[in-house]
Symmetry: C2
Subunit: 232 residues, 2 copies
């Protein structure tokens, strides 16, 4: 039977979940560099070497946390988007931007793990790329929906993108079908600007300078939305 076989696999799956939960808690307090397999093992009442039955290396544990993190922020963004009427494109954009910022403020070390400096020896395996674009796909849908509805009126202030960028635009267009190259490029400006702002706030570049950070954030992503051509 596979019922007995799954008996052992079930406890194994439970242990893996317990390990990642403890690791995530340690990550939240000590940050990624302070995450220690030995400390996790200690808290589980295990000896350190036993952990390696479940995660062959510290990097594998980090990978699990990274995938969970991308899914968590992706889900937060999806929820924020779904809570708005589909044709309120400006409201959806503002809502998903706020969702990113609020998730990042609530999970600063996890955000740093996803969008901060990469761990030098660490190479993200292929399993991380699918969850990594969950949030980005939401922006793409907003832009594509607005464009399809004819509500996207990008102000004529940007030069036309150079021809060589057409290939890159083609790749990005898989997330926002039928959107012209110029708008794809503007979407990239808005996308990088959004995360640039969150990272600056979280990584300390606003210290001693910006005090009303929520208001600045709202205002700036609104500007970026206008640059993108969102109405209102």
């Amino acid at each position: 039977m596979n019922a007995s076989r799954t008996a052992r696999e079930r406890v194994r799956a439970e242990l893996i979940k317990e390990i990642t939960d403890i690791a995530r808690r340690h990550l939240a307090t000590a940050g990624a560099p302070g995450l220690s397999l030995r400390a996790v093992a200690r808290e589980m009442g295990m000896v350190s070497s036993a952990i390696y039955r479940y995660f062959p290396s510290r990097d594998d544990l980090l990978t699990a946390l990274i995938i969970d993190g991308y899914n968590a922020i992706g889900e937060a963004v999806e929820r924020a988007d779904a809570a708005r009427p589909q044709d309120d494109f400006t409201g959806r954009w503002l809502a998903v931007c706020r969702a990113v910022r609020e998730w990042a403020l609530a999970h600063p070390h996890e955000y740093a793990l996803l969008y901060g400096s990469p761990v030098p020896g660490y190479a993200a395996p292929q399993d991380t790329v699918a969850p990594a674009v969950r949030d980005t796909a939401v922006y793409g849908r907003i832009v594509a929906d607005a464009h399809r509805a004819g509500r996207l009126t990008p102000p004529p202030i940007c030069p036309p993108p150079p021809a060589v960028l057409a290939e890159d635009a083609e790749v990005v267009r898989s997330l926002m079908p039928d959107v012209p190259d110029d708008v794809v490029m503007r979407a990239l400006v808005a996308w990088t600007g959004l995360y640039g702002m969150v990272s600056f706030e979280l990584f300390g570049q606003f210290n001693n300078t910006i005090t009303h950070r929520a208001e600045l954030f709202d205002h700036n992503v609104t500007c970026l939305g206008r640059l993108l051509g969102l109405p209102e």
Copy 2:
């Protein structure tokens, strides 16, 4: 005499410089987490404990590297700005943006130390704040110069900033005198957008997506310059 006294201090200063040089080289290859006092000492032919005569802790060595890094990127930006005619505001903006990107690509780990995830236990001491704004001050001068020359025509697409942001604008205005609040806010959008783009490229968010990164960068910072109101 203080000539003999400085004799000892001179060898001390030389050793400090040699330590930071080796440390910077290690940083460039292994990254900040891989920087080890013992490895630096080993390369100097010292025993590890001797290093602590010059840097009381690893964090102090990191602080020295951070200050050097801010000065290096600040100097690169200043040089790029000075190489352009003072009234070529758009050219100056593009030049300093490129200088930031090129410095970051040439010194990825140092850039990560300055603008990436903060080291969890580490609190930047006050000596780092003055060098940290060297590059930002250059952007401020460009915006202020363009505004004073009457060459700044921000497109009317952004809403007026909320009143509460006036205090923050006042602080930022020390870097760009006489510039109105609305333009200060646009400058913040451009500033965060610039570093957001560099960070995304360096930290791997463009992997499997963007191939023509220099062209995308130029195009995007040009868009940000237009949003700011730069001419052409």
